[in-house]
Every structure is written in C-alpha cells, then in structure tokens.
C-alpha cells in the first residue's frame, strides 16, 4: 500500500503516517479511497498502526512481520496442520517404558509409513523444535499485534470528534439520510434521548446539531485482554521447564510399604489398595460378567522427613503430614505435591512367614519363628533346634551353568539355606534348603534337594495367619506443577477478554444536520442487525418509521 505523504487533513488535524481515515473528522485520506463508493474499512478506526513508518529499517521489518494479522493467521494454520500430523500415529511420549524404542516400534507396527513418520521426527511432534518455534512465533505475534493496535485505538477512541465528515458518514455500513422539517437542535436532542434509553452514552457538540452515541466501548479491549491471558498462559507453560517446577515420576508401593519420593522431602505409605467391581444387577445385559470396575483406590499416608533426610546411612525421621484415599478423580494434594492413581498390580508379595520347625521322626513341632524376606535375622533358636541362615535368594533359579542364582530382588520365589543343629543331626549342623512358598517347594523339589535330612526335620507354615503378605501393589503418579496457578490465571484472563469481546459489541452512531439535511452513519464491530435495530428504534421515536434492513449499505448497493 502506498502511504500518503501529506497526512494533514482539511479539518486541520495532523495524522500519523499510515492513517487511513482522519483521526479527527473521519475523512478518507487516500485519494483513491475518497473517490470510491465502497463502505469504509473501519478496522481500528482507520488509525495508523504503531509500526507503520515511511522508511522502515531492519528492526521495523521484523516488527512489521509479526504485526501483520495475515501472518498471524498463517502461523495458526501451519500450527494446526502440524498438530494434525502428530495425531496420525501415537506419540512416543505415550509409552513410559524404559525399554520402548521408537526407532523399532514405528517401523514394526506401521511399516513404511511408520518408518517415515519416525524419520521425520513426527513421533515427537509436540516437543519438536519446529512446533515449539511455531508456538513462540504465535506468542510473539500476539504481543506485537496487540501493542501495535491497542495504543492507537485507545488514542482514537478517547478523543473522538463528534461532527464527522460527510464522506465518513455516508460510507458507513449502516447509513441514513433525509430532510427534516423539525428544529435541528430539538430533533438531535430527541434522538439522543431515545438512544440513551437503549444504554448509549450520548455526546452533542456545541451547535447542538451533531451527535455521537456510543455503547459498550469496553468490548473493544476484549481481544487484547484475551491476548494478554494467552501470553500469560504460554509463559506459564514455558515456566514448567524451570528445574523443579514440573515433577513427573512414578512410585510403586506394595500394601504396607513406605517409600521415599525422590527429589522431594516426602515419603508415602500405602495402607492398602482396593478394587471394586460392579455387581451384575448394576450392569446392563451385554456388560454382565464383564468385570467392569466400579472403583479403585489407595489409602495413603504422606510423611515429611524432618531429620536425616539426605543421609541414607541413618534412618530418616518421618512426620505424618497428610492422609488421603486416592481415587482416579481425587488425587492426594498436599501443598504443591499431588499423588494420582495411575495403575495397580494384583500380584501378592510375600513379606514374612512364621513357620514351625518339625521333628519328622517324633512329630513334635516347635516355634513358630519369624522369618522376614528382607534382611532376615541370621540366627534362630527354635525349641531344641538352632538355625543359622547361611544364604538366601529372593527369586530363586538355576542358571545355565547349574548354579543357583536370583533373578531379581523381589521375593517372587524366595529360598533360604539354613545350617540346622539339633536332636538327631550332625554336630556341625546340616544344610537345609527352605522354600516358603508351596509352589516353589514343588517346582524346585525341596525334599530331593534336602535328601535324607527331609526325613528328620521339616519347616512348615501352619495356616495363612502365619503368612504376612501384601495383596497388591499400587502405582502412583507423582506430580508437582508450580506453574499451574499462573496457567489458570492466564486462562481466566483470556476467557474474560473473550467474553467481553464477543458477547458485547461496540456500537457508535454519528449524525449531523446541515440545513435540515440529516446524515447518519453507524458502526459496530459485530452484530449489525442489533445496531440497525437501535437506529430504527430511535428514528421511530422521532417519527421516522422504516425497515431496519433498509439502513444497510453493506456494499451491495454500490
């Protein structure tokens, strides 16, 4: 667009470069525009954007780039098209396993398209440099577009001239002119009164024959408030990358255990995980016996460490700070910490047994003695017997070389090797292998391993009350999100701006009467229908009845 060089209007007002309509009287400044018959472009009241300058330098050019609404729209379009691409296949972030390998997964699961998808980096679309860059550019555009428009608009709206140029009035999208018989000032006054009833603020100039009625100017600030909210929101999202502001980890707790939440000063104990299914009578026909889950919950106690916290040698001193029953939609919240129900595992875990030592020959049994799976005592005196623990395996197995090994550190198949001394046994003691779990006893044939010793002595658990086990393991998601409150503030501000800008409309009606000739023009940013109704209502009040639609100058009448 060629900018007019002489920006001084005939009304005497000096306008900034880039001004389309005189800031004072509204006369179109460009010759071409003045001669046309099209309705006027009323964006930002025709004032110059801040950035419009006669000789832009390098900085101005960057600024102008971001200041353009067209560029903003392109950025939005590119962003949502990019976002679409990210939903073609699942994102890599949906797999939380450490063994998940995206380079294999996509090719295996989706073939060639999967390979291309991975190659293009679309498996991490939303954390990719180009997607983040787009968001950054949108944010920049939000700031610059707003700064560039809101200040000039504010200036233009805070010092409006009442008597506008004829060309300005006649070329509004809603316009009307007629010849009046009544007294000019009296008519203007009457018209103003009618508009006041409709909630307009009415200004009349000194002569009493020009009028400006305005309503809901505040709605013009809606978009800018919305943009401020969005910027706050995006800054809050960015703030989450500050170390410690966004914690996201998982803890697994077997019933009854207390585990530390690493990276915080908290410990959490599970008092038990419970799952409840719907009864058949609560279910419709096709869901009966489907095992539909009614609820799952974990009762937890939260502790804060008060001493020896960063020292793993000493026992930490824990103070209970909070108790909660965690449900899917009801996490534990304590200060900034949140614990969410994530998953569960119903495999029981054995913690300890209290077996009897039995003299197989006499049938007499002694005990029980308490045998823990983790860090058990090494020495036991049970009746006439002495048991010395010489080795133990948590997850017993025999490796390829025929040696006993443990497969993990969890008590999946615990095995204990005792040296037993007592009646009828060798002086130095005899080696006895004990599997607390019945299934392991059979699987590894305990009696065969112990040979003739199995006929002399036995270690037996009598009844389930002598077995201490955790019925389930709960998996909790630990979250700390320090930015979240700023995020909500941003969202609320953005919402307020949005509602202001959409559910209210800025309406202005100008009129001037010269020699009994009434010229009226009106403008709104949205809802012309309502504006026309207002004009017609007030005209009717002054004795002119017309179809509101006839006020439309919508560019079709030429």
């Amino acid at each position: 667009m060629l900018l007019p060089v002489n920006t001084k209007c005939e009304c005497g007002h000096q306008n900034a470069v880039g001004t389309v309509l005189c800031e004072s009287c509204g006369k179109p400044l460009e010759k071409e525009l003045l001669e046309s018959n099209e309705p006027l472009e009323m964006r930002y009241d025709g004032v110059a954007r801040r950035s419009q300058k006669a000789n832009p330098d390098y900085l101005d050019k960057i600024w102008n780039f971001f200041s353009s609404v067209k560029i903003a729209i392109y950025l939005i379009i590119i962003t949502f098209v990019g976002a679409m691409l990210g939903t073609i296949f699942p994102q890599a972030s949906t797999f939380i396993s450490s063994t998940f390998d995206p380079s294999v997964y996509y090719a295996e699961q989706y073939g060639l398209p999967g390979k291309i998808y991975y190659f293009l980096g679309l498996h991490r679309t939303y954390t990719s440099w180009w997607f983040i860059t787009l968001l950054v550019m949108i944010a920049t555009s939000l700031v610059i577009c707003s700064i560039d428009r809101v200040l000039p608009l504010y200036r233009a709206l805070s010092k409006q001239q009442i008597r506008k140029h004829h060309a300005f009035l006649k070329r509004q999208k809603a316009t009307y002119s007629t010849t009046l018989a009544e007294d000019e000032a009296e008519w203007t006054k009457q018209y103003g009164q009618a508009l006041r009833k409709k909630g307009y603020k009415v200004f009349v100039d000194e002569s009493g024959t020009a009028l400006l009625a305005e309503k809901n100017r505040f709605s013009r600030w809606g978009p800018y408030i919305n943009h401020i909210g969005l910027i706050l929101f995006l800054l809050a999202v960015l703030a989450r990358s500050i170390p410690g502001w966004n914690v996201d980890q998982y803890v697994s707790i077997a019933d009854g255990d207390t585990v530390p939440i690493v990276g915080t000063n908290y410990y959490v104990k599970s008092e038990g995980f419970k799952i409840e299914l719907y009864e058949n009578e609560e279910l419709p026909e096709e869901l009966k016996d489907s095992g539909r889950i009614k609820s799952f919950k974990t009762e937890v106690v939260l502790y804060e460490c008060s001493a020896n916290c960063n020292d793993d040698f000493e026992q930490p001193t824990l103070t209970e700070v909070h108790q909660h029953t965690i449900l899917v939609n009801d996490p534990l919240r304590y200060k900034e910490l949140k614990l969410h129900q994530f998953d569960f595992n119903l495999t029981p875990r054995i913690n300890a047994v209290s077996p009897m030592v039995v003299n197989v020959q006499t049938g007499e049994s002694y005990g029980p003695f308490h045998l823990k799976m983790v860090e058990p005592e090494l020495h036991y005196e049970v009746g006439p017997y002495t048991l010395e623990l010489i080795d133990k395996y948590m997850d017993f197995a025999i490796n390829s070389e025929g040696e006993p090994i443990t497969l993990s550190s969890s008590p999946n198949a615990p095995a204990f090797i005792f040296n037993i001394k007592g009646p009828g046994l060798a002086e130095a003691g005899e080696v006895f292998m004990y599997f607390p779990l019945e299934k392991d006893k059979v699987r590894f044939s305990q009696d065969t391993i112990n040979r003739e010793l199995a006929n002399k002595v036995a270690i037996k658990v009598e009844g389930m009350e002598n077995v201490d086990f955790s019925a389930a393991t709960t998996h909790l998601n630990v979250r700390i999100d320090k930015a979240i409150k700023y995020l909500w503030i941003g969202a609320v501000i953005s919402m307020i701006g949005l509602v202001m800008g959409t559910y209210w409309q800025h309406r202005r009606i100008w009129l001037r009467i010269d020699d009994q000739q009434l010229t009226l023009g009106a403008h709104t940013n949205k809802n012309w229908y309502g504006l026309r109704a207002d004009i017609a209502y007030a005209l009717k009040h002054c004795g002119i009845e017309l179809d509101p639609k006839s006020l439309d100058n919508g560019g079709h009448k030429g």
Binding site: E41, R43, V69, K70, I73, I76, I77, F80, A83, M84, G86, T87, F89, P90, Q91, S93, T94, F95, I96, S97, S98, Q109, Y110, G111, P113, T125, Y126, D248, Y278, E282, L283, P284, E286, L287, R292, I293, K294, V328, N329, P331, K338, H340, D343, N477, R479, D481, I484, A491, S494, M495, L498, V499, T502, Y503, K526, W528, Y529, K549, G554, H556
Partner: protein, 420 residues
C-alpha cells in the same frame, strides 16, 4: 412406567416433533407460492406453528435428558448414545437462542434436519445405561461435556446458516471454472450429508434384518510398559463384511449377496478399537449414501444444490452470513471454556497433567485454532460472504472429526467414550 422408559419415549416424541416442525417450516416457505393468501401472513403463521412445534420438541428432549439422569443416577453424557443425543439437544438449544436473536424462520429448515440426523445417528448406538468407570466418576463429566457440546452446537448452527448461504448464493447457471468448482464442492457437501443418512439407513436396515457375522481376530499390542502381547478376540459385525478385521478368520457369516467371508482385509494401520468393523461401516455408509443420491438425482434430474436453490430465493444472503458468523462468535467462548479450559482442569485432576497431547485433546485444540483463524479472517476485507461460509462448513467437518472421527480412527485416552 419407570424413569428410564419415560425418558426413552420422550426422546421418541422429541424426534417426531422435530420432524413435524421441519415439515411446517417447509410449508411456511414453499406455501408462499400457493397463492391464495397473503404470502407474508402465511409465512408468519406457519413459521410460528413450526417454531412452537420445535420448542415443544426441545422440551420433550430436555425431559428425556433429565428423566434419564434421575433414572440412572448419573448424567447421561458418558457413552456415544448419550453424548450424541446431548449434541442434538444442544443444537436445538443453540438454534432456539439464535432464533430469539434474529427471528429468522428459515434457519429452522436447516438446523432442525441437522438435529434430526444427529438424533437418528445416536440411536444406532446401544442405549443402555452403563455405570461409570472410575475415570468418569467426576463432576467435571457434567460440566466439561455439556459446555463443550453447547459450543460445538453453535458451530453446527453456524454451519447450517453457512450451508444455506452457499445454497442461496451459488449461481447454478454459472459456467465459468470457478462457478463450476463451487457447484461441485457444494454438491460434495450435500452428498456427505447423505452419506451420514446412508449410515443410519444401513445400520437400521441390517439390524432390522437381523444380520450378524463374527470373526476371530488376533491382535498384537504393545502395552504402556512396552511389553508385546498377543490376544485373540471375537469381533461381531452387524453389516456384511466388505472389510473384515485385520488378521482374522471368519467364524460365522450370514450370507449376503453370496458373501460368506470378508471381501477385503482392513489395513493394519487403522488402529482404533475395532477398526475393521468401523471401516466396514464407513464403506457401507458411503455405498448407501451414494445409492440414495443416485435415486434422488434420477427423480429430480438436476444437481441437489440446484434443486434446493430456488426454495431459498426470498432470503437475504447478508442475514445468513451474519447469522453464521454470529453463531460461531457466540459458540467460540463456550467451546473455549468447555472444550479446552474445563477439559484441562479435569485432566489436571484425573491424570495429573492439564495437557497430554492425547489425540482428542489435540483435535479440540485444532478446532479451537481453526475457529480463531476464522475469527481473524473475518477482520480482513474480502473474507465475508462466500469464503467465510466455506470456512464455516469446513470448520464443522473438523468438529465432527474431533467428536466422532478421532474415536473412529485414532486410539487414545478418550477411547472409552465410545461403545463401538
């Protein structure tokens, strides 16, 4: 009669009232040319009757909603049937609001059929009350789903007005390249609507005929912890298998036109739940929709758009343009609140993160970005009228994809929302 029975009969009543209201609207418009009376009076009278009928329909629909709520003890927004009927209801609410603002009769001629199609579509899904799984047991279910649906309903009304605008303004005598292209796309839009109707007909037709087929499908899946496991499951079909499930064997197939096994196999990359059956359904919908279109073409002997065009002659296109824009403007903040902000609050509570780039979330964001681009386009000169009508039509396609397509094609955390 218990609450739930009363509730489902209310929906039936609402459905028929909507159908009658549509007919009355047609009488109001088409009857103007019958000539005996003053056409304006005729339009006003029948328009009033039609609006009252549609409002009664909405009352019945609201009764359906609240009695089902009382009867089941949970807000009816938790499965596909309930959600789609809710959408139909919110479309009617949005339409009624827009009607009170603009008092434009003709909008009903398009908004009502839209609501009717939506309700008919809903009734394809099983209508049983399903008790809530733990993830849905939250008061945010009520707040998030209803507000999001209301926002989307305004977009739907914006779409209806935009479609009317296009039918009204596209010149069917225009033989230029651009004119031809506009006619083709409009016809394509109308055919798409027929495909949706085709789906409803196919679903009810085969259901009525008692058609079933079942397949044994072998699935390899990778769990969240990265373990690969294979499971076999039986997939039940209610339509003849043009596409059978990926990697499956027929167990029992009712013969249909000599078909005893699937004609084709669903490609493996369709990865939603029961993707084979869904693809098959889509294919059937297209076939029936095109058949329907063919029949209509044979009867009217001209493009569908050209046949509707004259009925809209009396309407001011500027009004339609403004109604479409206004409906979207009203819907946008509601959608922002319900579809994004409330969704984020709920996600923060249920999953610990306000945003997780789940496909449904992403598509809600895409919808939002799309409509914000639309609103900015409206600021530019030359984007009013036809271009923005097309944008409103495409926008509604995106809304539909977010609501239905995501569940159909993409697996994600929202997959429990469907029953298919």
């Amino acid at each position: 009669m218990n609450w739930l029975e009363f509730s489902s009969s209310s929906l039936g009543v609402a459905f028929f009232l909507y159908v009658f209201a549509t007919i009355f609207y047609m009488v109001a418009i088409a009857g103007k040319k019958w000539g005996k009376k003053d056409p304006k009076l005729h339009e006003a009278r029948w328009g009033k009757i039609a609006f009252i009928t549609s409002t009664l329909g909405l009352v019945a629909h609201l009764l359906f909603f609240f009695t089902r709520w009382i009867g089941s003890g949970q807000i009816p927004t938790s499965n596909m049937y309930e959600f789609i009927t809710l959408l139909g209801m919110t479309i009617m609410i949005a339409y009624t609001i827009i009607y009170f603002i603009y008092k434009k009769l003709l909008l009903g001629m398009f908004a009502l059929p839209l609501a009717i199609i939506v309700i008919a579509y809903a009734s394809v899904f099983p209508s049983d009350v399903q008790p809530l799984v733990p993830a849905l047991q939250s008061h945010w279910l009520k707040i998030h789903v209803t507000t999001a649906a209301l926002g989307e309903a305004f977009f739907a009304v914006g779409f209806a007005a935009a479609l009317m605008y296009l039918l009204r303004t596209i010149d069917f005598k225009d033989k230029t390249k651009n004119g031809k292209r506009a006619q083709r796309w409009l016809e394509f839009t109308l055919i798409s609507i027929l495909v949706v109707i085709g789906f409803i007909i196919a679903a009810f037709g085969f259901k009525g005929a008692g058609y079933t087929a079942s397949f044994q499908q072998e699935n390899a899946s990778v769990s969240q912890l990265g373990e690969i496991s294979t499971t076999t499951e039986t997939v039940e079909y209610t339509m003849p298998p043009i596409f059978k499930p990926y990697n499956s064997e027929a167990i029992e197939v009712t013969p249909f036109l000599g078909m005893t096994d699937g004609l084709f196999e669903t490609p493996s990359w369709f990865n939603g739940v029961n993707s084979g059956r869904k693809l098959n359904t889509v294919v059937w919908s297209i076939i029936v929709g095109l058949l329907l279109y063919g029949i209509i073409r044979v009867i009217i002997r001209k493009p569908l758009g050209a046949a509707i065009h004259p009925a809209l002659e009396g309407i001011d296109p500027d009004d339609l343009d403004e109604i479409s824009y206004r409906a979207i403007v009203i819907g946008f903040p509601i959608f922002t609140l319900g579809g994004l902000i409330f969704a984020m609050i709920w996600a923060e509570e249920a999953w610990g993160r306000f945003w997780g780039w789940d496909p449904k979330e992403v598509w809600a964001l895409i919808t939002w970005l799309y409509y914000s681009a639309y609103l900015h386009f409206r600021l530019s000169r030359g984007w009013q009228g036809k271009p923005s009508a097309w944008l409103a039509v495409i926008g509604f396609v995106i809304v539909l994809f977010t609501l239905v397509g995501v569940n159909l094609l993409i697996a994600g955390m929202h997959s429990y929302a469907g029953v298919e």
